[in-house]
């Protein structure tokens, strides 16, 4: 049986899902950045089942019609499997002359891209990149071009194992884990549940398009995003001083941003203007991203290789992503050889990456690679710092529950008040337990003791009901988290002053809006009560809760088909949608699924203050 599509035009008119034909290995990066990729032949991988398909995303990408039912049919299933169920024919296969049936081999090659990765001994990106991923191709729909890549499609020569052990591995070799080129169902599900929640909450992120399941929990996890390029795609060539390939990657990336109209400015008078505009955009995106990560307690292991993030600050690779329930600012992941950065160190890493993009712009303009320190005080670095603070201020006002026009007004006319509130907010948010640092299963941490979401949610309703501010002890009673011990909660003079400052500044916002916008204090508090109850919902997902939810899903998996999994993931993301301006409707679920969802809610609730 011939499983392989020869070309997307082969069966036009006969096929119901023509646009899948574009995902055939062809990608402009291959031609435009020849030094930035490795190409592999691939063969159809038998035995796969569609475990999940993201109908919603597929509609945005134009892969299925807007009116398509959220149900797999035999044609669609066949299309998904023929497109994504593949394994590369890697160096091991070639050297060992392993033969595969001709009819199973895809006509085009698929690329693995090169990028810098700090776990490679080379440390300069000569050997690193997509170690178990290939790019399926791209599709263009409604003015947006989407990249699609698949993880778990076989071991490439860019994997750390290949380069550390200096040998090629057969795909699936049980003697190594990460380097064997396969991925697991659990990884796919974790990315699915986490990315759908974060995407609903306006985080830029990769999203899971499909999961193909094989025996023994092995899977191919297909991801999509309008641009899957990471800073590390630039940094390897920068480190090597490879002007030609660096210019190619940069030009390629910029052309996609222009094509997708992702930037405000789309034409440039000179290369210099274009490359510095890229650096400027990176400064803004990374400032916004690192501020949002801090404010939403997202732990993303940012490091100098720029491997764990997309160019627009979007999240990629959920392996090390966590969301904390409280500001556990000293948590470090233990990666055996070293500890990760903390949530507060992410900003410095993001800033470092921006500095690298200024270095890139300068290098591409002058053809001379100056040292990174040369750009320490470049004006674009100030853009980053300014934008970071602005983003922090905006995030905080949004968290209180103010509407956009009130946020804009407070930022424009009452900035000192906002700054004052941010300081006092940080005082509580960053207060630590007297217990000190201790070990957790995957790292070390020191507990935060206050839950800012609780106070932000309750404050407006209590002010509204009581008509007065809270006493010191009432304030502490509300804000204390389950991590706080009696000794952590002492009402010292400093703490009393901070409680007073917190409440008086909060009130001063209301007074300012009352005066300038003629909106009474009661009206504002009512509006804040409603908005804040959504924004600061009691149950918010954490990294631990996602892990436990995925364990539950894995247990239910044999009985859950792909459509059911789609419904559950969608329902879960709706439940975690904390956008007060979006109406969230619940869909009718069968009784069996209601129980599963109930289980999910309990998990989220139990883990809500953890890591």
């Amino acid at each position: 049986m011939n499983h392989v599509k020869k070309s997307h035009t082969d069966e036009v008119g006969k096929r119901s899902y023509v646009n899948f034909g574009h995902l055939n290995g062809e990608h402009p990066f291959k031609e435009k950045v020849p030094g930035g990729r490795v190409e592999y032949k691939a063969r159809y991988r038998k035995g796969g089942k569609v475990a999940y398909f993201n109908f919603d995303l597929a509609k945005d990408m134009g892969l299925i019609a807007k009116t398509h039912a959220h149900q797999l049919n035999p044609d669609l299933e066949k299309e998904i499997l023929e497109t994504f169920s593949l394994t590369i024919i890697n160096e091991y296969d070639v050297i060992n002359n392993i033969k595969f049936p001709e009819e199973d081999i895809y006509p085009n090659t698929f690329m693995a891209t090169r990028y810098l990765q700090l776990q490679h001994p080379d440390k300069a990106g000569r050997t690193s990149g997509d170690g178990r991923t290939i790019w399926n191709g791209y599709v263009r729909h409604n003015g947006t071009t989407w990249d699609v890549s698949s993880c778990g499609t076989g071991g490439t020569k860019l994997s750390p194992a290949c380069n550390i052990n200096k040998k090629f591995y057969q795909t699936g070799d049980p003697s190594i884990s990460y380097g064997c080129g396969l991925s697991e169902m659990g990884e796919g599900l974790e990315t699915l549940f986490f990315s759908e929640v974060l995407s609903k909450n306006n985080f830029k992120t990769e999203r899971i398009l499909a999961i193909i399941e094989f025996e023994k929990g092995i899977s191919i996890n297909v991801r999509a995003n309008p641009n899957l390029i990471r800073p590390s795609h630039f940094f390897g060539h920068l480190k090597q001083g490879n002007f030609e390939t660096l210019k190619q990657v940069t030009d390629y990336y910029i052309s996609r941003q222009i094509e997708n109209k992702s930037w405000e400015q789309l034409t440039f008078k000179s290369d210099k203007e274009k490359y510095f505009y890229l650096a400027q955009q990176t400064a803004k995106s990374f400032a916004e991203m690192s501020a949002k990560f801090e404010d939403e307690y997202i732990f993303c292991w940012l490091d100098w290789d720029g491997d764990n993030i997309l160019m627009d600050g979007g999240i990629i690779d959920y392996g090390s992503i966590r969301q904390f329930g409280l500001f556990h600012a000293e948590y470090r992941y233990d990666d055996v050889q070293r500890f990760s950065t903390t949530i507060l160190e992410q900003k410095q890493k993001a800033r470092y990456m921006v500095q690298c993009f200024i270095q890139i712009a300068d290098f591409l303009t002058t053809k001379k690679k100056k040292s990174l320190s040369h750009f320490k005080k470049h004006p674009i670095m100030l853009t980053f710092d300014k934008h970071f603070i602005e983003s922090k201020n905006r995030n905080l006002l949004n968290k209180i529950g103010f509407k956009k026009n009130h946020v804009d007004h407070l930022l424009k006319y009452h900035l000192p008040k906002v700054t004052k509130f941010r300081r006092v907010f940080s005082y509580f948010e960053r207060s630590k337990s007297k217990r000190g640092m201790y070990k957790v299963p995957d790292g070390i941490t020191r507990d935060a003791i206050f839950c800012m979401r609780d106070i932000m949610r309750e404050l407006p309703q209590l002010y509204l009901a009581k008509g007065t501010i809270l006493s010191h002890s009432d304030f502490i009673e509300i804000i204390k988290s389950s991590y706080a011990k009696k000794s952590d909660l002492k009402l010292t003079e400093i703490r009393k002053k901070q409680i007073h400052r917190f409440q008086s500044t909060y009130m001063s916002f209301l007074n300012a809006i009352e005066k300038d916008h003629h909106s009474s204090r009661a009206q504002q508090l009512l509006e804040l009560t409603m908005r804040s109850s959504i924004i600061n919902k009691y149950d918010r997902v954490t990294g631990d809760s996602i892990t436990f939810i995925v364990e539950k899903v894995m247990k239910h998996r044999p009985k859950l088909n792909s459509d059911e999994l789609y419904d559950l993931a969608t329902q879960f993301a709706n439940y975690q949608n904390l956008n007060p301006d979006q109406k969230t409707g619940s869909t009718k679920l069968p009784e069996r699924h209601k129980n599963i969802m109930q289980n999910f809610y309990s998990i989220v609730r139990e883990c809500r203050e953890g890591i």
């Binding site: 209590l462 009901a465 009673e477 009661a522 009206q523 009560t529 409603m530 109850s533 969230t584 009784e591």
Partner: protein, 220 residues
């Protein structure tokens, strides 16, 4: 005691009941607490509730989900509210959570001390002796997803309440049969109809029906 039993329906259908509710509040600038039957997406329900009752010049509200832990400060304000509204949803889950949070005696005291207690559908059934009506009739019942056995509720009135009633022979048959063996009167209210109790005086709003000793009676 002051109680309002809402069956269900939209804002327009409930106009008369709402007017009675506001009359019973009888106070300027009251505080109204909204207790959802489940915290799941209850923020959206709360928003709709606030938007609706703001039209009656009520501007102070508390959102008080009972299936998540709460602090004593907010709870005290809830008990000081002028009215507490219990929303609709799965009656079994709602009762399970109210009992787990030890709120049944507190709500009973609130009502007995003159606080205005209102309920819609599941919330209204909660004010009766037990929630058996939620499991009845078989073709229109809540699932006992939490598998609770003790169905006793607030027991504030001596009648049974059935919300979302449809005036059809299908319902008539089962309710006649049910009340043949029951000492209690069953009041069945279609959406938009309901019952108002003011100082122990009962008033029916909209077209309501009573089932007693195997017979059906029209009210209003």
């Amino acid at each position: 005691m002051n109680l309002v039993f809402y069956s269900g329906g939209n804002d327009k259908e409930n106009q008369s009941l709402d007017r009675s509710f506001v009359e019973l509040l009888g106070k300027k600038n009251p505080v109204v607490t909204f207790i959802p039957s489940s915290s799941y997406l209850s923020e959206q329900e709360f928003k709709s509730f606030v938007r609706h009752y703001s039209k009656f010049k009520i501007h102070r509200f508390i959102h008080f989900p009972v299936d998540v832990p709460f602090d004593n400060i907010l709870f005290q304000e809830v008990m000081r509210s002028d009215a507490i509204h219990m929303a609709g949803g799965n009656t079994f889950y709602f009762l399970h959570c109210l009992r787990k949070a030890k709120l049944l005696p507190q709500l009973k005291t609130f009502a007995q001390k003159g606080g205005l207690l209102t309920g819609l559908s599941a919330g209204a059934i909660m004010m009766t002796e037990d929630i058996e009506m939620a499991a009845y009739p078989e073709f229109d019942r809540d699932e006992n997803t939490v598998n609770i056995k003790n169905l006793s509720a607030l027991n504030l009135v001596d009648f049974l309440f059935f919300p979302h009633f449809r005036n059809s022979s299908r319902y008539d048959t089962v309710f006649k049969k049910y009340t043949k063996e029951s000492e209690k009167i069953l009041y069945a209210c279609p959406d938009g109809a309901g019952i108002v109790i003011r100082n122990d005086e009962i008033r029916f709003i909209g077209k309501c029906y009573a089932f007693s000793k195997g017979h059906k009676f029209n009210i209003n």
